[in-house]
Symmetry: C2
């Protein structure tokens, strides 16, 4: 079994515990960090010294209490570097430049035509979105310590490969290498489900609960899952494909090839199919692009369009049923909704879903269950990719430290234990 927790893994984990505590608490004393993380004072002191020497933390304030020792308050040094987080979807690329404390500094967006699927076309869109964000934030290129890019579909982050992107029919595209060659900055790739759950853990409900699911609704649909503070990656980083669990055996054709998947009802194309069942002549269906379709639906709902009200009703029914499955299987106490369809339609979907959930969730899993629109600020995918990139940066820094032993461990594995799960 290769999965035993090593001293090194634990050390990395402690390191991230301290980092997360700083994001949660703001400027903190060593004592506060020890109390919050449950780590010993000695461990916290060692980690803080390392972080300070790496320039990742700095001393924000020094308090002198009467008679006591001076108390240093530590904080992440936002100016230690810049990170770019990129959300690549079928219909757009959205890039954001962050400081090291993951404060957003500038943003760039490029529309992608969902009917184009060439590698050069997509890579060019990514580069242009990044350039636009870098320019908007006034960032000097050499200050960027890393770029995190979320790619749709199945991604192998260690290899930097887009294993399979169904909408583009991509197979084994070495996207990380292509981008690094072009940008001359280290790039980290992963998929949006991993990004949204990481950002939810760091900046959303994860500050209050340890187990949660984040449901991402857009062209595709899926769920990011965290259990007991660990992101669930699965054996091949392919966990979370809730969009390809069944709503209806032998039901609507799904783009994955199977019939009856959740995505065939809750992905944007699924919404279009439902609306066409209600009124095949509805003007919203004439929008050639998915983003415009969803916008037309939101506008029409505001105006009280009865066909669209019916669409919202049916979609809420499908969503309540599919969320019921997720909760029944995992008994997570919290589900949040994210993604651009959620953002546009949450006010119509969330109340209806809450009303119907008791019909789908096992009584023992219902009492404290909360379902809400995600409160993660900005683009949760870009923010999550920036957080991954920050983790990677800290791991790289850690390699230079003489305190590290066990060089045989794979440094790219990061804090996430779940990648050790496959033998």
């Amino acid at each position: 079994m290769v999965s035993r927790r090593t001293a090194r893994d634990l050390r990395n984990e402690n390191r991230f515990e301290v980092l997360h505590a700083l994001f949660e608490l703001g400027p903190s004393t060593r004592q506060e960090l020890a109390r919050h993380t449950g780590l010993s004072s000695a461990t916290v002191a060692t980690l803080v010294t390392e972080f300070l020497s790496e320039g990742v933390l700095h001393i924000a304030t020094v308090e002198r209490n009467t008679g006591g020792r001076p108390q240093e308050r530590l904080t992440i040094d936002p100016d230690r570097g810049r990170i770019v987080g990129v959300d690549v979807a079928e219909t757009y690329v959205d890039a954001t430049v962050y400081d090291l404390a993951l404060g957003a500094l500038g943003h760039g967006e490029v529309a992608l035509d969902e009917h184009e699927n060439g590698q050069a076309y997509v890579v060019d869109g990514i580069i242009r979105a990044i350039e636009s964000a870098v320019e908007a934030s006034g960032t000097e290129h050499e200050r960027i310590i890393g770029v995190g890019v979320s790619m749709p579909g199945h991604v192998h982050p260690d290899a930097g490969v887009s294993v399979f992107a169904p909408n583009w029919d991509w197979h084994d595209v070495h996207i990380e290498e292509m981008l690094e060659k072009s940008l001359q900055i280290s790039v980290y790739v992963d998929n949006p489900l991993k990004a949204v759950i990481l950002s939810e853990m760091w900046f959303g409900v994860g500050r209050v609960v340890d187990s949660m699911a984040v449901v991402n609704l857009g062209t595709g649909v899926g769920a990011g899952i965290a259990i007991d503070g660990s992101l669930i990656r699965g054996a091949t980083n392919n966990a979370g494909e809730w969009g390809h669990t069944l709503l209806q055996l032998d039901g609507r054709q799904c783009r994955c090839g199977r019939r009856g998947c959740v995505e065939a009802y809750l992905g944007v194309h699924g919404l279009e199919t439902t609306l066409a069942e209600i009124d095949p002549e509805h003007p919203a269906l004439r929008q050639p692009r998915q983003r415009d379709f969803v916008e037309a639906v939101a506008d029409g709902l505001t105006a009280g369009d009865p066909a669209l009200m019916d669409l919202a009703r049916r979609t809420s029914h499908y969503l309540a049923a599919a969320l019921g499955d997720l909760v029944n299987l995992l008994n997570v106490p919290t589900v949040t909704l994210t993604g651009w369809t959620s953002n546009a339609l949450a006010e119509w979907l969330v109340p209806a879903v809450r009303d119907e959930l008791p019909d789908h969730v096992m009584p023992g899993s219902l009492p404290d269950l909360t379902v809400e629109a995600s409160q993660v600020p900005g683009n949760a995918v870009a923010l999550g990719m920036a957080a991954f990139t920050l983790e990677q940066f800290l791991i790289r820094l850690g390699l230079a430290s003489p305190a590290r032993t066990r060089p045989q461990a794979d440094p790219d594995r990061g804090l996430d234990q779940s990648r050790h799960g496959h033998v």
Copy 2:
């Protein structure tokens, strides 16, 4: 957030790592245990000394290598005590007496009428099954260190309560207290999904992989789930209700009240419904008890009965689809099948399910996926409950040790981190 890992938790976890290593490796030296667990030699030495002083381990052999120090091989002392594991299902109670190394010593079974649901009736059945197992194994009552009882439905193990047993319409039954009063031995209750995954982790595929699902097919159906070596309990110990995820929105009525759940197709009553769709006059449907029905199906399949062949074909289709959902969501590398329906029908179901799985599983989760009948010996539910009881016994012993700090932590939580997940 209440979920931070404490020094105490870690200590418990290390303690169980050593125990699991002993189950896996057999008699082992301290060095072998350190190598296998990834723990330091000092930690292993401390834990072994504790285990020896508690009588849980003993020295099996001493080897003297030329010139080297004598090497002690340690093993669990089977005669330190006896444990009873009990599997309470809707149709039977099955009890097994184990030694401390979890070797089975004797077995007792009592049939339950699935149409009876009185508390006294069920409790009496449990007591009689235990007495019969104790007698068959020639165990003296005072040597029994604990009894682990799996109850169907939603169980709260810390409180010892059967929160909800749908088949019996039980609500908040204090089963642990009732049994302890009668048996005068400490009792630990949990539900079968937690028991089967624990036994799979200790004695099944868990010896090779860290993440897995065990699908339990009987009157009810469900899945035990382990990710990265941790059992998934969920916020209220209600995770794994895969039987109440959808196969067919608004499909067959399920006994949970919802329509279209997996259990309505794969539970024994689901199989009866499918057979009635094929041939409402089939003689197997005249069996009044579920166990007899399943036996009649297995016999008829052996004889090549065409209606039953069709039943096996349709049931395999449902099972492949429902397992596809589990794998797509969790990307587990291994699924095993357990439970009495599986045991009776695995030879007809497993090959057909394997053939169809590629139609349901995302390509990225398919390559190394294995689906097989569980190889856990004997009754996996009873064995898992015995393993939980052993854990509880070690935790209780641990409380007596002066090395323990942090008395505010809840000792009954055991090694399982997941119960800390709910805030």
